[in-house]
C-alpha cells in the first residue's frame, strides 16, 4: 500500500518536472512524458520509501507555503548578515561547530531541515548523525546544546514537523 | 582596434594547444600527461568552432526568433559544430582508454613515473 502510494507520488513528481521542462501541454509531449515517467518509476521502485513521507493532510498543505515564505525571508536575512560580516574590515568572526538536536524522524524531513539550516543565518550543517546535527556557526552565540537548538533548529522544525513528522 | 570574438577565442585555443603540448612533453607522471592531452584537445575544439563563427549571426537552431525562410542569412556554419561534437565524444573514449592502461601499468609496476618504464627505450 505504502509502496503504491510512493510510486504514484514519484510518477506525479516526474510528470510535473517533465511538463515544466517542456513548457507545453501538447499531446505528443504528454504521451512521451507519461511513458518516460512510467519507465523511470518502475526502475526506481525499490528505493521509494523516502518519497511517500510527505503527509498530504490539509494542514500540511497549508503549512507548505508558509514554510517556503519563512525560508525565503531567512535566506535574504542571512545574506544581509553575511554581507555585513564580509564587508566590514575587521571580519568579526567567532566560528565553531556546535551540536543541536532535532525531533524529526523522517529522512526527507531531516534532509530539508539540514538544507534549510545550511542556507540560513551563518550556519552550515557538517554532519548528521541520528537525531544529532553538527552545525558550523560563523558567530557562535551559545555553546549549550539546548540553547543552540532553540536558536538554529526550532524555527524550521515547527513547519517541517507538520509536513513530514 | 578591438579584436573580434572569433580571433580572441582562436588565440586562446592555440595557446591551450601549446600549453597542453608543453605539459605532455615535460611531465613525467603518466596521469599528468593525460591531463595535458585533454587540455590540448579542448584547445583544438575551440579553434575549430571559432573558425566557423561569423559575426552578427546566431546558432543554427530554428525557432521563433530564427524562422526557416531567412535561415541562410541568420545562422552560422553548422558543419564545424557537428565535427566538434563528434570529436568531444571520441575524446572521452580515448581518455578512458588511456586511463585504463595507466591504471593497469600502475598495478604491475607500482609507479606512474615514465622514467621507470624502460623496456621500450633505445
Amino acid at each position: 500500500m505504502a509502496k503504491a502510494r510512493a510510486s504514484v507520488l514519484l510518477f506525479a513528481t516526474l510528470l510535473g518536472f517533465w511538463l515544466l521542462l517542456n513548457g507545453s501541454l501538447a499531446t505528443d509531449v504528454l504521451v512521451i512524458g507519461v511513458i518516460a515517467a512510467l519507465v523511470i518509476t518502475l526502475l526506481f521502485r525499490d528505493s521509494l520509501a523516502v518519497v511517500s513521507e510527505f503527509r498530504a493532510t490539509p494542514h500540511a498543505l497549508i503549512t507548505a507555503p508558509s514554510y517556503v515564505f519563512y525560508f525565503l525571508k531567512e535566506l535574504v536575512r542571512s545574506n544581509l548578515r553575511l554581507a555585513s560580516i564580509v564587508l566590514s574590515p575587521a571580519l568579526p568572526l567567532r566560528p565553531g561547530i556546535v551540536k543541536v538536536r532535532t525531533r524529526l524522524k523522517s529522512r526527507m524531513g531531516r534532509l530539508l531541515l539540514a538544507n534549510s539550516i545550511t542556507l540560513t543565518p551563518g550556519t552550515l550543517t557538517v554532519e548528521l548523525d541520528g537525531e544529532w546535527l553538527y552545525v558550523h556557526w560563523v558567530t557562535v552565540e551559545s555553546e549549550d546544546v539546548d540553547a543552540a537548538t532553540a536558536d538554529i533548529v526550532n524555527g524550521f522544525e515547527r513547519y517541517l514537523e507538520v509536513m513530514y513528522g | 582596434m578591438m579584436p573580434s570574438i572569433a580571433q580572441l577565442a582562436m588565440a586562446t585555443g592555440f595557446i591551450l594547444i601549446l600549453i597542453g603540448f608543453y605539459g605532455a612533453l615535460t611531465q613525467r607522471n603518466l596521469l599528468r600527461m593525460i591531463v595535458a592531452f585533454t587540455l590540448s584537445g579542448t584547445g583544438v575544439n575551440i579553434v575549430i568552432v571559432a573558425i566557423g563563427y561569423m559575426h552578427g549571426r546566431t546558432a543554427p537552431i530554428l525557432d521563433a526568433t530564427v524562422n526557416a525562410a531567412d535561415a541562410v542569412s541568420r545562422v552560422i556554419d553548422p558543419v564545424p559544430q557537428a565535427l566538434v561534437l563528434t570529436a568531444i565524444v571520441i575524446g572521452l573514449g580515448v581518455t578512458a582508454l588511456m586511463l585504463a592502461y595507466a591504471l593497469k601499468l600502475h598495478e604491475q609496476r607500482r609507479s606512474l613515473d615514465i622514467a621507470k618504464f624502460t623496456e621500450l627505450k633505445w
Binding site: I40, L111 | A71, T86
Partner: protein, 232 residues
C-alpha cells in the same frame, strides 16, 4: 633541463605557425556552399529545427553509427583491460560510510536526473540537446547511484541488454530508411511533421533516443567497470 629546452624550441616553432595562421585569418561573411545547402534544405527536407542534429543523424548518419561503434569498442576494451589478470574477491571499499544526507538526496534526485537525460535526447531535434549529451546525463545519474551506495552492484546483464537492443534497433531503423525512403538511415519513412513539434523530423527523435540509450549504457558500463573491479 635539455629536454625542456628542446620542448620549448619545438613549441616556439609550432607557435610561430599558429601565429601566422591567426594573422592571416579573415572571417567569412557568407556561408560556404555546403553550409548554405544544409541551412536551406534542412527544414523542408528533414524537418528538424536543429541543423546540427540533422547533419549528425541524417546527412552524416553513417559516421555517427561508426562513432557509436568506436565508443562501444572503447568501453569494451576498458572493461577487458581492467578485468585482465586481476585477483578478485578482496575488497578495500566501503571503509568510509556515506552520509545520510547524500543517500536521501540521491533517492530524490536520481530519478529527476534520469528524466532530464530523457528530455535532452528526446528533444534533440528541437533544442541544443542530443543523444550523446543525454546519454552522458543518464550515465551521470548512474554515477550518482554508485556514489551514494558504493557496494551497489549494477546488473551488467541489464546494461549490456539495453546497449545491444538499442544498437540493433538503430541499425534496423537504418535499414527501414533504405527500404522505405531514400537510403540507409534516411529519416523520412515517418512523416516529417510540423517544424517545432515533438513528433516531427521523421525518425530523428527515435534514432537519437536509441543513440542516447546506447551511449548512456556504454558510459555507465565504463564507470561501473572502473569502480567495481577489485583487483590487487
Amino acid at each position: 633541463m635539455i629536454k625542456r629546452f628542446i620542448a620549448l624550441t619545438l613549441l616556439l616553432a609550432i607557435g610561430g605557425l599558429f601565429a601566422s595562421l591567426l594573422l592571416g585569418y579573415t572571417p567569412d561573411s557568407e556561408l560556404n556552399q555546403t553550409a548554405r545547402y544544409y541551412a536551406e534544405r534542412t527544414s523542408p527536407d528533414i524537418g528538424a529545427a536543429n541543423i546540427v542534429t540533422a547533419i549528425i543523424v541524417t546527412y552524416r548518419g553513417l559516421d555517427t553509427l561508426g562513432e557509436v561503434t568506436v565508443l562501444f569498442l572503447s568501453a569494451a576494451i576498458v572493461g577487458l583491460v581492467l578485468a585482465l589478470g586481476g585477483k578478485s574477491g578482496k575488497t578495500g571499499r566501503g571503509t568510509v560510510p556515506v552520509g545520510e544526507l547524500l543517500t536521501t538526496g540521491t533517492r530524490y534526485l536520481a530519478p529527476l536526473i534520469m528524466l532530464l537525460g530523457v528530455y535532452v535526447f528526446v528533444n534533440g531535434h528541437l533544442t541544443p540537446g542530443g543523444g550523446f549529451q543525454g546519454g552522458a546525463i543518464l550515465a551521470s545519474g548512474v554515477l550518482l547511484l554508485l556514489l551514494a551506495d558504493p557496494l551497489k552492484r549494477f546488473s551488467h546483464v541489464l546494461i549490456a541488454t539495453i546497449e545491444s537492443f538499442a544498437g540493433l534497433l538503430y541499425v534496423l531503423i537504418g535499414l527501414f530508411g533504405l527500404v522505405l525512403a531514400g537510403g540507409f538511415l534516411d529519416n523520412r519513412f515517418l512523416p516529417t511533421g510540423e517544424l517545432g513539434a515533438l513528433f516531427s523530423a521523421g525518425a530523428i527523435p527515435l534514432i537519437y533516443s536509441l543513440i542516447g540509450l546506447k551511449v548512456g549504457a556504454e558510459f555507465a558500463s565504463m564507470l561501473a567497470s572502473l569502480s567495481e573491479s577489485e583487483t590487487s
